[in-house]
């Protein structure tokens, strides 16, 4: 009798385990990822897929500390110009080949040398890579680089199987990526789905349930939510803030927001092209007046339903580089009007460009109404996304509202935007002092010293105000209550370790 019971019990357990492991997790994304090659990819949603598909050297924890993944440990040389990793020795790629230092070297070299690699600037401080033995990886740097470890927690540190590298067919990798993550690639239908399957030889496979993970891009946030509500999806990203109350009220759903690393900002065109010459915003008093006429909290209330936390600086509260020295400017129409009078421009006519989606349109209209009270005549020019990037780069704007998804390392949130030659410095603000400070901060590995330098740079920037931060970009996830163990991370990535689906 006892034996039968235990056999039955075992059978039941096995079926349960089997069914848990034969489940399919369906995740709704806002966009379709681009090419599935970590060295050439550029989309945020692509990174979400990579999180389950490709392991990287190091990862981050929920409080933004570096944790081991493919590398067990690492250390810098005393002069900070040599970074040595000790790698795991029990890692297999999805095609069965072994992951070792030679493979890692091949990956890093590809990331640096491939002509259309988008990771070049991220690894620009790397002089050479050595693999003295299968578990030791050595990076020789041109100069100390505080940003490098953070870069290696993202696409630059992802490891593909070198067997798939084909000099004649670069696109082959993206069509069928072979990595070493907990799930392996099954198929991808553009604009329809990306399907991953559990990789049983993953070194930590017991922590991952689901036989299959399917990513479904559904651009319309209302339809995405409808799918979640009707049971067609299990987890969705970027819930529209105005849908948040509905999700919270629904007994079958859970609302899981987290403050992200990125922000929404307004960039003023100070010196880019002909439009900058007569731009009222060339005068910093007008920029300050504008900032004083906008109530960030109102934007948070009206459009953000409380999750668009007002931002004054590029580093989020979760970041160790956030500084208490720069509190959020309170709205003050009287002061704004006085500043405008000072600058001799009581009624500036300016045009705001922004991406034409509902959220940004609402924010733009709110800003228009608020700034009007101080005397600004803001006209709005919603611009289609593809056209907007060109407008920004060529300086065809007076000021614009644009977002940044955020990077783990603080340098990624500031350097490219405000340094004289910064690739994303569309307003062409240029202050050599700021350049010097930000370049210095890049090589400082001590957090406190680095923060002090950023504070110095910020003091100048908050005075000159080449850009105005509006709010910190949150990552609002929603899932059915059946999804258990899901923790959102500040970088917005969906990590499936420990996540299960109740039957």
């Amino acid at each position: 009798m006892k034996r039968i019971t235990s056999v039955l019990f075992g059978a039941v357990l096995a079926t349960c385990a089997a069914s848990a492991f034969s489940q399919n997790l369906r995740i709704g994304l806002q966009e379709d990822p681009d090419v599935l090659d970590p060295h050439r990819a550029r989309t945020y949603v692509g990174r979400i897929v990579f999180t389950s598909l490709c392991d990287k050297l190091i990862d981050i924890s929920t409080d933004l500390k570096f944790v081991p993944q493919l590398a067990k440990s690492w250390s810098f040389s005393p002069d900070n110009k040599v970074l040595t990793f000790t790698l795991r020795d029990d890692v297999l790629f999805h095609d069965g080949s072994k992951f070792d230092a030679a493979a890692a070297k091949a990956n890093l070299e590809r990331a640096i040398q491939l002509p259309d690699s988008l990771r070049k600037s991220e690894l620009s401080s790397v002089q050479s890579v050595e693999a003295p033995n299968p578990t030791t990886l050595v990076l020789n740097l041109k100069q100390p680089d505080a940003t490098l470890l953070a870069q290696l927690t993202d696409r630059a540190g992802m490891m593909l199987s070198p067997k798939t590298f084909d000099a004649k067919d670069v696109a082959a990798v993206g069509r069928a990526p072979v990595c070493s993550g907990p799930y392996k690639f099954v198929e991808r239908v553009q604009n329809d789905r990306i399907v991953l399957e559990k990789f049983d030889q993953y070194y930590n496979s017991k922590d991952f349930s689901f036989k299959r993970v399917t990513f479904l891009p559904i651009p319309d946030s209302t339809v995405r939510l409808s799918n979640l509500q009707s049971g067609g999806l299990d987890l969705i990203e970027r819930v529209n803030p105005t849908d948040a109350p509905q999700v919270k009220k629904d007994a079958k759903l859970a609302f899981l927001p987290i403050a992200g690393l990125g922000f929404q900002q307004i960039i003023f065109n100070i010196d880019n092209g002909p439009l900058a010459k007569d731009n009222p915003f060339k005068d910093k008093r007008v920029r300050h007046a504008f900032e004083l006429s906008v109530d960030r909290q109102a934007i948070n209330d009206v459009v953000g339903e409380g999750i668009f936390e007002p931002a004054q600086q590029p580093f989020s509260k979760a970041s160790p580089f956030y500084s208490e020295k720069f509190p959020v400017t309170k709205r003050d129409v009287v002061k704004a009007k006085a500043l405008l009078k000072d600058a001799g421009q009581t009624n500036p006519k300016v045009e705001l460009i922004f991406g034409n989606n509902t959220t940004e349109a609402s924010i733009a209209q709110l800003i228009q109404a608020m700034a009007a009270e101080a005397g600004f005549e803001v006209s709005l020019r919603p611009t289609e996304f593809a056209a907007m990037q060109k407008e920004a780069a060529s300086g065809n704007f007076q000021f614009m509202l644009i977002g940044w998804s955020g990077r783990v390392d603080p340098d990624g949130n500031i350097h490219q935007f405000v340094t004289c030659k910064g690739a994303l410095n569309d307003g062409r603000y240029c202050n050599p002092q700021v350049d010097q400070l930000l370049n210095d901060a890049r090589v400082l590995t001590d957090v406190d010293k680095r923060r002090a330098v950023y504070d110095q740079a910020q003091t100048i920037l908050q005075d000159e105000l080449p850009e105005m931060y509006v709010y910190y970009q949150p990552w609002p996830f929603a899932a059915t209550k059946k999804v258990q163990g899901f923790k959102p991370y500040p970088d917005g990535m969906i990590r499936l370790q420990g996540v299960t689906l109740a039957p």
């Binding site: 319309d220 996304f385 907007m388």
Partner: protein
Amino acid sequence: MLKLILNRILVAIPTLLLVSVIVFTLQKILPGDPVLTLAGEERDPVVLQYLRDKYHLDDPLPVQYGAWVMQVIQGDLGKSLRTDVPVTTLIAQKLPVTLQLASMAMLFALLIGIPAGIIAAVRKGTYIEMGANMVALSGMSVPGFWLGILLIMLVSVQWQLLPASGYVPPGQDLWLSLKTMVMPAFVLSTAIAAYLMRHTRSSMLEALSADYVRTARAKGVSPRGVVLHHALRNALMPIVTLVTLLFGELLAGAVLTEQVFTIPGFGKLMVDAVFNRDYAVVQGVVLVVAVGFIFMNLLADVLYVLVNPRLRHA
């Protein structure tokens, strides 16, 4: 007959060339730099230039056009700029989806439109005819995407009857595939059903007042017999060609429906490609659609002649 077909094909060639030129020029004058869109959030100037060279985006337009035509003649429609997937693969994946949607929509439209048209013709002058006409015109007047969103809210979210969006291939799960297609097909069919209803009505009216019908009635054939056997057969002839032409309209009309219901079909492929400045995809896809349209028109002409014996010897 053969002469007709050959003639039409010959005439189609310059049209196709024109289509390709129009689409090509339109794309290139769209503002926005595809390379900037490709290069992502960070903008590495070295990479930007490499991409421009790789896709020959700095070459003069006629050179780019010529290169593309050469490619097409060899059967290569290029690769999606965004994901490197060959355009022919994309078309092979997406065309069946839209065809499935269009077929189901046409089926609904036929099932609704033709009986409605017959009833309206037979009951001419009564309130039933007026009612049918109103319903038909309402179908044509409702903005499809609005109807779609309303249906998703009601049927998927409130009543939990059907999936809100997405697509499942019939090979994988026939029942689920049909369930995902019901709402979009219905939305798409409303305008077409209206057209069919009205055309059925007018050609039935014509048929009913014809001599042979009067003869049949005089001979004592029952009213239903008159309607079904004599009038209907002749009324359906022009409908056949209309259906072929409407199929082409359906393919195009699917664009918005596919956006609302997130169906990975042809229409959505085109719209996304235009917004992403994915030149290769837009060019390849529009070319295929143009070929399809021209083929459909040819088919309609052939069917018309086949079905109408009087024209065969013209």
